[in-house]
Symmetry: C2
Subunit: 349 residues, 2 copies
């Protein structure tokens, strides 16, 4: 199969290199093609998502993505900023379902700011809608009739957008503990009232799954108080962005967590990325933890290439490397990115 | 002075009763008037914010507020729901500045899910904009041209709205550690780009304050990783709703935290409320912690009645009661709401 590698900005190239080494070591016969994306692509081509890159993404069987984002480009107009590349990819490929597991890796109890007994209990998947909400509504800057500068972004969902992500959540819940929490702000937002209404409708098809609705402010609180009580969380694009980052930090390091973005439940078109982002402060220093990228490669094999066996091998190798004491600086250790990659490769062998 | 007491729904009346007892015990010569609000008001008058209540709120020198919210009213149209009462009060009185301190009370290290050394370092104030953003933009439900149900809410700020809350944040920062974090999602939202631009402009008037911009997803993460690094956070209505609840849970119990909503920096018109909300699951059982309401009364004396001495007395009494081992169930104890009120009153004497 053809795997597109879009390494992007900041620590993206460093961590993606290790993920590719792991995939190559498995010798599965896949081919790799790379393309520029994000600030890196803008520097070379004046566009963060060049047509060649989009074409490769569409042609590939799956996409391994690094990160985009570059503070030097904060001044650019929105359409040219690095982040537009990932937003554009998600929208163009219809990747509406973002799956973000958060689970403590054995041995990493000490890396979490939560009490160990709280951190150990965490094992959830956040199912985040990824192609709608205030991210993609009409937006702009203007002048009010009082002559004031203003900025606006429309938050919006329609019933089809809510229904399909709700289904992904319920399917996931059915394969896990059969409980799901839908997060919204229905006491204030009309968008959330539609969300809640449609989620309740989809729930009728899954009578064996217990559904709870929770306001987003309360969810942020419960994720501190008792994160182990959550199993599947389904929510919109903006709330999912915030809550999934919060949840992932609860398990110690955001450097350990992969994500999958899919265009249908158990479809094969997918983009796989570590959730940590470009981390410009440590870029180019060999300090980044490549585990999230390596685990993203495992998700790629599982979801897009129907190769669960290889995915499990990679995941076992990461667990073994961590269990053997391999630690990058984010985990309190001193290993370089490449040395952490070596540790995973050694465990794989 | 005239203090309006709007106890509201759920545990609102129980906790407000204790706060009033504390105010009365100080014998400061203030008068109290009560009025109905929220679901309680809707049941009696068919409106969550009856005209008499709004009139009292406007006439009073300060408002002591309990909580609104009632799950039995989830089916009502938005304009009649209990939450509209507090949103309506904030808007009618122009209470654009919501101050939410989050600080660990000595002795409550064990109540937090964070590691004790992390929890002990927390001492921040979240300055949340309270009368704009997606809360108050055009909103509604409709049918798309494909015949689908939709829901929408406009997120919007103008420069005046951002400038005045930014000033509150900087004034606060100047009186504390001279660092401020402005939280937005400027990599995606135009509203946030305006926010960032205006905050940068206001920052020019406060050269001695160090300003950092942070994306909201990263802020949610850093609040887990190292909450002690924050001092003043200034942010919009929606992000402030989420982050302040997250931060307050980091210090153990949301039952300990008061808030002030003001219509100008060091103005006197203000509404004071515990941040915990109506907590319908424990309402009427005498289990609620009244400390947040009692501490809200202290903020009322300080900000609206220029009586810092009495505010400090109340705060010292709460600290002494907690220090003496008084604990409601949310803090791992067995005291009833009234018994906790007694403990504070005893410490006051
Ligand atoms: C880079 C940014 C646009 C993106 C988002 O907000 O979706 C990132 O935070 C993420 O969560 O993947
Ligand atoms: C009750 C609700 C409308 C309110 C809000 O979202 O502002 C509450 O959560 C708060 O934070 O005071």
């Amino acid at each position: 199969a053809l795997i597109a590698i879009l390494a992007g900005d900041g620590i993206g190239p460093e961590v993606t290199r290790e993920a590719r080494r792991v995939l190559e070591a498995l010798d599965l016969g896949h081919t790799f093609e790379t393309a520029l994306i994000g600030g890196t692509a803008y520097r070379a081509t004046s566009h963060p998502l060049p047509p060649e890159t989009l074409a490769l993404a569409k042609r590939a069987d799956a996409i391994l993505f690094g990160a985009v984002g570059d503070p030097e480009m904060d001044g650019l107009e929105r359409a040219l900023r690095p982040e537009q590349a990932i937003l554009g990819l998600r929208k163009s490929l219809g990747l509406f379902a973002n799956l973000r597991p958060a689970k403590l890796f054995p041995g990493l109890e000490d890396a979490s700011a939560m009490r160990p007994e709280i951190a150990r209990a965490i094992d959830m998947v956040i199912v985040r809608e990824l192609t709608g909400d205030v991210y993609f509504g009409d937006k702009g800057r203007g002048i009010t009739n009082k002559g004031l500068r203003e900025g606006h972004d429309m938050m919006r969902y329609d019933e089809v957008e809510v229904a399909r992500i709700a289904r992904v959540g319920f399917e996931m819940a059915q394969r896990r503990k059969r409980i799901i929490t839908s997060v919204d702000k229905a006491n204030v937002l009309e968008t959330s009232q539609l969300w809640r209404e449609v989620v309740n409708e989809i729930a009728l098809d899954y009578p064996e799954v217990k559904l709870t609705h929770m306001y987003v402010d309360n969810a942020a609180m419960q994720l501190v108080r008792n994160p182990g009580a959550f199993d599947v969380i389904v929510t919109g694009n903006l709330f999912g962005d915030i809550l999934s980052d919060q949840a992932s930090m609860c398990v110690g390091s955001i450097g350990m967590l992969p994500s999958a973005s899919l265009n249908q439940w158990q479809g094969t078109c997918g983009l796989y990325e570590p959730i940590h982002g470009s981390a410009p402060d440590i870029a180019g220093q060999g300090k980044a933890n490549p585990c999230a990228a390596i685990l993203s490669a495992a998700l790629l094999l599982r979801h897009s290439l129907a190769d669960d066996a290889s995915a499990l091998r990679i995941e076992a190798a990461v667990i073994a490397a961590i269990g053997g004491g391999a630690r990058t600086p984010d985990l309190g250790g001193t290993l370089s990115t490449a040395a952490m990659g070596d540790a995973v490769l050694a465990a794989l062998a």
